[in-house]
Symmetry: C2
Subunit: 457 residues, 2 copies
């Protein structure tokens, strides 16, 4: 193996310390989800393409990692499609499965498959990896952990507020600074796109999604290039530029578009959410109505939300979600759902930079027994057994190499104490305990090893 091997692009290894930090964050999330009585589920890493395809939008479909058919199935390759440069068709003939792109579509498959066994409203949480063939950036990877909570089977706005409360509780628990939660409603966007005589809400959504990058002026410029009614464009421009409280924004929106029923419904819902939110004692979240919020995924139909990273961090959103009405079964009001995701890696980055990880992730002391050869093993092994029985972290050096090498190992691995039981110690029934930080050495009766070491831990 002479060539240099690496992790694939956009993926990472994790060391022991990184895993401890990730477990800390994951436990805060999971304990919060559990205290809200969400039920955990897990789904397979890949799903059949029949489950995944067409749920996200075309751009997103192209970012799925598809699994190459194996065995004889590969004979189904559509060579004509390849020759005619229909690469997407060619690619589809070679695969019938793909890695999860998110946790929401697998949830909808789970519900559809277990419809008769689930009692609704179904509150589930799920913390598993997802994969996207995107260009890697800071805080954005091709394999990353997604943490979702969803409530299926209720259209009440309390679902929205319960999920926002989940964000608030987690951020508070983590000691994060206050963050902005932007809120909008797809029905408002739909109303706007109707007024503009756009064919579908997707068009306006994909333009608005760029507001962060190109600003309101850029958005307006793009719209003007599309030959839309000047009047509507100007109204939208006024709206997007409008500064004020949520209540003022709502009033302004109503006065500009008062004749539009779809839009009105959306405005009513947002107003009710914002009003009721005052009863929820949010401590770490400010809710801001933001008409430029669109969110890419095509399955959203109602409320959409997105949590911005704290101001000093320029890493995009750290969470988002929305309401989807037709993901499980079309036109079944019983199966309306609302759900949110946490951007685990970006939150991790923030905790790291703000030094919010607790110091005591690494408190258990570790012990190394020096190895003086197979002959003297009996006593050593019975000591090791005693300690491990009590979950004390300890090990016997795995060969009787020179003591210096064994001590180097202890230093490099950050072992806290070295235990010396050689010939002399066996005779005197006293072992030596060396504190690797201070260098202090003490002599202890072998019979007391467990009690003495439990005291150190």
């Amino acid at each position: 193996m002479s060539q240099k091997l690496n992790t694939p692009k956009g993926t990472r290894d994790f060391s022991s310390l990184e895993i401890k930090k990730r477990e800390y964050l994951l436990n805060v999330l999971k304990n919060c989800f559990k205290s809200f009585n969400f039920q955990e589920i897990q789904t397979p890493s890949f799903e059949n393409l029949t489950t995944l395809r067409g749920k996200y939008g075309d751009d997103e479909d192209n970012l799925m990692f598809k699994i190459l058919s194996s065995g004889d199935k590969i004979k189904k390759a559509d060579i004509d499609a390849f020759k005619n440069n229909k690469l997407s068709k060619f690619s589809n003939s070679l695969s019938d499965k793909a890695l999860r792109y998110d946790l929401t579509v697998p949830l909808s498959r789970f519900i559809s498959q277990n419809l008769n066994d689930i009692s609704f409203p179904f509150k589930r949480f799920q913390t598993q990896l997802v994969w996207r063939a995107e260009r890697p950036q800071k805080g954005r990877y091709r394999e990353f952990l997604q943490c979702d909570v969803d409530i299926i089977g209720e259209s009440n706005i309390l679902n929205e507020l319960e999920c926002i409360k989940v964000y608030d509780t987690v951020f508070k628990k983590l000691g994060m600074p206050k963050v902005n939660l932007r809120i909008n409603n797809r029905q408002i966007l739909e109303g706007v796109s109707k007024l503009m005589k756009l064919e579908s809400v997707k068009e306006i959504a994909s333009i608005l999604d760029k507001t962060d990058k190109i600003g309101v002026d850029g958005v307006i410029k793009e719209l003007k290039e599309r030959d839309l009614p000047d009047n509507s464009i100007n109204q939208l421009k006024t709206l997007l530029n409008f500064q004020g409280t949520n209540q003022e924004k709502i009033k302004n929106l109503r006065s500009l578009f008062n004749s539009n029923q779809i839009l009105s419904n959306g405005v009513d819902l947002i107003e009710e959410i914002i009003k009721t939110s005052q009863k929820f004692n949010f401590s770490n979240i400010n809710i801001n109505l933001d008409l430029s919020l669109a969110r890419g995924l095509s399955y959203y139909t109602g409320t959409i939300i997105e949590v911005s990273s704290p101001e000093e961090f320029n890493i995009g959103s750290i969470g988002g979600g929305g309401r989807y009405d037709d993901l499980v079964q079309k036109n079944n009001p019983r199966l309306s759902g609302f759900g949110i995701s946490f951007g685990f890696d970006r939150i991790f980055l923030i905790l790291e930079e703000l030094k919010l990880f607790p110091n005591e992730l690494n408190t258990s002391k570790s012990f190394l027994f020096l190895n003086f050869g197979l002959e003297n093993l009996d006593t050593l092994i019975s000591c090791v057994d005693k300690l491990r029985e009590k979950n004390i972290i300890c090990e016997l050096y795995p060969s009787d190499v020179k003591i210096k090498k064994q001590m180097d190992y202890a230093n490099q691995k950050g072992i806290d104490y070295v235990i010396i039981i050689g010939q002399e110690e066996l005779r005197s029934k006293n072992f030596k305990l060396k504190d690797m930080k201070s260098g202090d050495e003490s002599t202890i009766n072998i019979n007391n090893i467990l009690s003495e070491i439990e005291n150190l831990n």
Copy 2:
């Protein structure tokens, strides 16, 4: 979505209760690995094919889930290979990554990539999913959790014994019946295959691997079909049929093949392992020298072991491992490694059938606040907040539907207590607490809600 959607073949969803049981088992494993001072690492779900290919053997390579190249990379499709029915070549032109097939080859890539930062001996554990495109069977899935410990950088037999001790400790902790651990050495097999004038040890290994299914007679029959020296075949037959203690088997082996150096080395190592094992106080493991043990994976070079499931279970092995000398760098003795795997799903099956999961997986009580409409939310939400602050599992029903429907939800979800704070309770400042198991109702002052409910938990 009218068609019925399902999990892909050989994969599973997990419910909340299954996850709790899996977490219990995983924690027993991880806590044991930690007490032995193995360091956890995690690697990406997929690796570059350059990392994976050629490490396992041809059969295994075909069982990898390859990831279809995306974007323009798919233009590299080798259409000629397809036309000439060279499907494997065609398939390789369409992919440069595959899902992990095990955790050992990713470990060797990890070490190779971080060679200068790792201090040896490197003791790592890893518990992550692996994927194999095998035919699903009882206890065998296409996506499953593998739990590995490995020690890299030492060829001392204490590594073998330390890993066997890990098995022993875990099985004891789980309360499992005593199991057989079969042991053999690839050098013995190599010696045997040399005597038989076979081209490579792989041939004898792949035949011996079938002993479980076709018996010793079947193995001998297959060997006879290959035109091998009768003398050697008969010697092997005698060996495989030989019944006796480990020491008797070793003696017998030596007397039959005393002139073969490679084989002798293997026998010496096994003898030393078996002899030293007596110092290790194994309580849940019997070590048995078994010359029919071969283990499929081609990277093993020395000791190989396999743990059989307890006798009443016919589900194959529940763990196995071995020594590999050239996985990280060829001919670098510093990087010899020994490692073992736990068959998580099969051990899970055994715990389930023997009812070895603890009863107290599910002790936290859960509480449901009935919902009487948005107007009365303030008090309810402050009560909910108080309880969740203490990690008490509670929820507010997410809409003010009929009380009967809310109570049905509590029953179906297995809620322990329902809390009733309606108009009347708000006036009297006393809430009702209904025990859903007994049906008992009590009346409690709202100010005391936290202390009263903490007592129930």
